[in-house]
């Protein structure tokens, strides 16, 4: 007992130092986890962008698809549909989503000589799961979606189950430069530009750090959008 009393100051200092070390370690682990999650979500966004961009750049007009049917197995008859849907809006993502987007195109370039006309379709599917995201001063729970890519009706890839927003906008020839909009139905024959945007989110760090704070950063969210000029439609 005498020993502890003699070294009370030292023991207190060591305790404080150890406590701070533990807190720093926990905070460091939290930060590393956030970085990894951010890297994962950004990779998902880039992957999905590449798929979408490639498909859209090769998008054919309905007439081109119909004309090419004589030497292909395509039976769609030209189906360029941009379907908007506002029934899936919720929470902070109160923008109109695109429920599905469908268009004819050709098979990949390696098959170019005898490439078939195929129908590519993107479906936005509700996974039934939700995610809780931090907002400026609280949190909000929103549904998670998946973007399915279908070729001639058969599943051919898509995104992970972490899409929170998906929207395809179109712009017709000579439309006002700021008039990109979601349409509901067949695309216009004068379609010239297609813009897509989506947002993905991954469950973040849900444990509290040593000082009792949960992570409120938005490093587990990534959004991307770009506009594609349809050279085939000129």
């Amino acid at each position: 007992m005498q020993y502890f009393l003699d070294h009370l100051a030292s023991i207190l200092v060591v305790s404080v130092v150890l406590l701070i070390m533990v807190l720093v370690q926990i905070r460091g682990t939290q930060s590393a986890a956030e970085s990894t999650i951010n890297s994962i979500i950004f990779t998902d966004v880039v992957d999905m962008t590449e798929i979408l961009k490639r498909d859209l750049e090769n998008m054919l007009t309905d007439q081109q698809a119909i004309d090419a049917q004589s030497d292909s197995t395509y039976t769609g008859g030209g189906v360029t549909l941009c379907i908007g849907d506002d029934t899936t809006t919720s929470g902070i993502h109160a923008a109109q989503h695109t429920a599905f987007f469908s268009f004819p195109t050709r098979k990949p370039p390696e098959d170019l000589v005898n490439s078939e006309i195929i129908e590519v379709r993107y479906n936005l599917v509700n996974t039934g799961e939700t995610i809780t995201l931090p907002t400026r001063d609280s949190t909000q729970t929103i549904p998670l979606f998946r973007i399915n890519r279908l070729v001639n009706g058969l599943f051919a890839g898509g995104s992970g189950d972490n899409v929170t927003s998906f929207r395809i906008e179109t712009l017709n020839r000579f439309d006002d430069f700021d008039a990109f909009n979601v349409i509901d139905g067949a695309c216009s024959a004068n379609l010239r530009k297609v813009r897509f945007e989506f947002k993905m989110a991954q469950n973040g760090v849900d444990f509290a750090s040593g000082d009792g704070q949960t992570s409120t950063s938005q490093t587990n969210i990534s959004r991307f959008g770009t506009t594609v000029h349809l050279t085939n439609w000129e």
Binding site: Q30, S31, F180, R195, T226, T227
Partner: protein, 171 residues
């Protein structure tokens, strides 16, 4: 006395470690946010220039022609808005955007960003360099700066991003 000094030294070291750790975390968050604003800015830039090239005619003086002009003298002598054209809603050809500056709102996945945009339009020659001589190709550049305050890292974005698009008379 010696113990006290050692204790103070230990506390100093641990405080430095804690502060550096916090700084590192903040740095990571800032970098992520800067990347997000960069992606939104890139999206906005492409959308804006693709939209302009889609809507606007190549030149005020040739927009009424039914055929693509072959005589260079048929183009406007001066790049810039024509009389009565004061805002983008009244512009009708590419070079009306010369020296035009405005604030634009961009919404991506229900998140809103604001950008200050300054346009520059010039003729370009066969070597893709700007020229004062009239040609059948114009380059429109948009100098884009985010209006939100992104602290130290936001400054690196301000005024340095320029997106260009070349537009030809027969586009």
């Amino acid at each position: 006395m010696q113990e006290t000094l050692l204790a103070l030294g230990a506390l100093m070291i641990i405080m430095l470690i804690a502060v550096n750790q916090q700084r590192s975390t903040i740095h990571i968050h800032e970098q992520v946010y800067v990347r997000e604003i960069s992606q939104a800015r890139d999206d906005f830039a492409v959308r804006l220039l693709e939209g302009i090239s889609n809507e606007m005619s190549f030149d005020e003086k040739t927009m009424a022609l039914t055929d693509i002009p072959t005589n260079i003298s048929s183009l406007s002598d001066i790049l810039g808005p024509d009389p009565g054209e004061t805002a983008d809603s009244t512009f009708d050809d590419i070079d009306d955007f010369e020296a035009y500056r405005d604030t634009f709102m961009h919404v991506i996945s229900a998140d809103t960003f604001f950008f200050d945009v300054t346009f520059n339009v010039s003729y370009i020659d066969d070597d893709n360099t700007t020229t004062t001589s009239k040609t059948f190709a114009k380059e429109i550049s948009a100098l884009i700066a985010p209006l939100q305050d992104f602290g130290k890292y936001g400054n690196t974005l301000t005024g340095v991003f320029s997106k260009t698009k070349v537009i030809y008379e027969d586009f």
